[in-house]
Amino acid sequence: MSGASDGLIACLLLAGITGLLVVVTRDPCRQVYALAGNGLVLGLLFLALEAPDVALSEIAVGTAVTPFLFLATLAAIATDRAQR
């Protein structure tokens, strides 16, 4: 019981820390990885909060699709800048 509770506290704190990391990583190319990490931690937190459905979608969306969209955007921006 207390083990599960400790895990929950750890996940909550980790979520707070990774959120901060996303914000302070000012370089967008590196921010993507912080973002994916934040998504993963949130997924774990949701598992600890007994929300497997939400965890599954957060991991699919937050660690796969959204970071990919960010990467594609950054690649498009880099292409655009290279051509000028």
Partner: protein, 120 residues
Amino acid sequence: MSLLPWFVAAWLFAVGLYGIVTSRHCVHLIGCLTVCQSATYVLLLGLGFVRGAGPPVFYDHPPGMPAVDPVVQALVLTDIVVGAAVSALLLAIAIQVQRRRCTLDPQALRPLRPSKRTAE
């Protein structure tokens, strides 16, 4: 312990806001926006959590066992879709802004004000 989730939620929102307000790159700003949004996930799921209860899926444990609130989970699922949808739109806008303006500094983006052309 019993107040921690609410403070984590407030913290995430505040941190995200700080990022948005000080951001110098639109894509970074969109990332900060997703941090703000994760605050709502934490708040809602925290409100539905019951200590010692299982997930609201009665496959392994029979119906009638204590389970956490399924309604907030359904709300958060919707919220995740909202987040993905808004991020995708914002990123598409950011790509086009880069094409038109050659800059993504939020401090340089002012609609209807002629650009001073200092950034280039």
